[in-house]
Amino acid sequence: MGVTSWYAWASTLLQVAAVAVGGPLLMGLMAKVKARSEGRVGAPVVQPLRDLRKLLGKERLHARHSSVVLALAPMVILASTAMAVAISPLVSTRPLLSTSGDILVIVYLLLTGSAAAALGGLDVATAFGGMGASRAMTIGALAEPALLVAVIAMSIQSRTSNLGGIVSATLAHPDWVLGPSRLLALGALVIVVIAETGRIPVDNPATHLELTMIHEAMVLEYAGPELAVTSLGEAMRLGLLFSLVANLIVPWGIATRPTALALVAGVVFLGLKAAAVALGVALIEVRSAKLRLFRLPELLAGGFVLSVLAVVTGLVAR
């Protein structure tokens, strides 16, 4: 018991630390890849971390008519994301509270964060905040069924909806990885992750053009430390989703035995795998244009249909 609890604490702390540093680095990496492929030099990869430090040193400013919601929302975003990171199988298959690391818990923890972001956007009652919140909620509502059904497809195979259980079962059955059900679920997951992290076919994180921005519109009223907390929460969410996708596709390298060496290797492999996913998403971003808002349901319905197909082929090809 003593050994396992030491191990669980260590893996949880490592996970949160790795995602808190790694999430902004992934964003920096994607910005760098995009810049390079467009022939620019681009900002250094650590730029998001520097931005966070700069923002943390500024004074707190609130709009005149804002309520307590505006001040609370960043904390809720960060806390719910950090909680989801803590219980997901990222560095090791058995972090603290991993028995509750159920996919439903994680989806709803992430949803708590998005709801808080939307409320924060609505609080000051500016036109942009409301518009961004409404768009983000619409996309979230379309993406969520696809996410749930995709993970159901994976849990049919491994007979558990616990993420750690799915990852361990995949480690035990490497032939599942190239099965049709898993590949279809993967396609659905990629679409959902792009939608949830607001990357290019869905949202453009680099624009502040009023007609197209979604996420940026929600956080327009934040400044200083609160903007830093919100951005960190968003970066951690991106890190979490990329690492989850990476671990569900290629679980190898994750720590399964309680040794310090396995944990260190787990962090290294997690970094490499998440960077590979980020690279792939950045290449998708480079190659595609942002979709019109009214075309988005098509993309997300495609994700949903992929996940339904994943479930059916998983049931058929047993």
Binding site: D175, L178, G179, P180, S181, L183, L184, P297, E298, L300, A301, G302, F304, V305, L306, V308, L309, V312, T313, L315, V316, A317, R318
Partner: protein, 218 residues
């Protein structure tokens, strides 16, 4: 060897269904044809994989035939149609794209519910996959009913045919070679005839949308 056989079969049958759903998703004629080619190739892989597993020479020959006709010739013919009108898209289907995708999901679930009963009559690796063929047939019919352009209708017809072929491969390990030969050449003929029809339609009325043709010309 056995697990490679099962894995390949599942992957190829899944690819057949996936490509049929993708034809509902994509609008451009070019990507429609690419999906059809993917489907033909996957279908050929199913036949060849089954033939190699059961040491059935007729099935291997059928697989080769499918590869040539459905994987290469038919897509190339359709590609020529697409090239005549490169920017053309399915702009206004009768059921919009998100709804048709949801319909496709529902049809897939339906064919799973029905198809597993059929497959339960003779359980086996191949027969268990038969619902995927049924789903492809249903998606093809859906496309035939809801899409307006002639190319899309041809693609829907080919989806139905591919779905039937997939089901025959999986359920009966292939019908006699002569029947398969007949039906495959039939499809080729249909595509050629429809292509001529479309060319003459385009020449006469400058549209490929069947609903816009209401009057008879001499």
């Amino acid at each position: 060897m056995s697990s490679t056989y099962v894995g390949t079969l599942e992957l190829a049958a899944g690819a057949v269904l996936l490509s049929s759903v993708m034809t509902l998703w994509r609008r451009g004629v070019g990507s429609l044809v690419s999906m059809l080619r993917l489907q033909g190739l996957a279908l050929a892989v199913v036949a060849i994989d089954l033939g190699a597993h059961e040491r059935d020479r007729a099935l291997l020959v059928t697989g080769g035939l499918v590869l040539i006709v459905k994987g290469l010739v038919v897509p190339a013919l359709l590609r020529r149609v697409a090239r005549r009108d490169p920017g053309s898209r399915e702009s206004n289907p009768r059921v919009n794209v998100p709804s048709s995708l949801v319909f496709a999901a529902a049809l897939t679930v339906l064919s799973y519910v029905v198809g597993t009963r059929i497959a339960a009559l003779a359980p086996g690796v191949a027969t268990d996959l038969a619902p995927l063929g049924l789903a492809t047939v249903l998606v093809g019919y859906f496309m035939l009913v809801t899409r307006r352009r002639a190319v899309s209708k041809i693609v829907g017809l080919l989806l139905v045919d591919n779905g039937i072929a997939l089901m025959t491969f999986l359920l009966t390990s292939g019908v006699p070679l002569i029947v398969e030969l007949g039906s495959t050449l039939d499809v080729l003929l249909v595509v050629v005839v429809l292509q001529f029809l479309m060319v003459s339609m385009g020449r006469h009325s400058r549209t490929e949308r069947l609903t816009e043709m209401k009057a008879l010309h001499d």
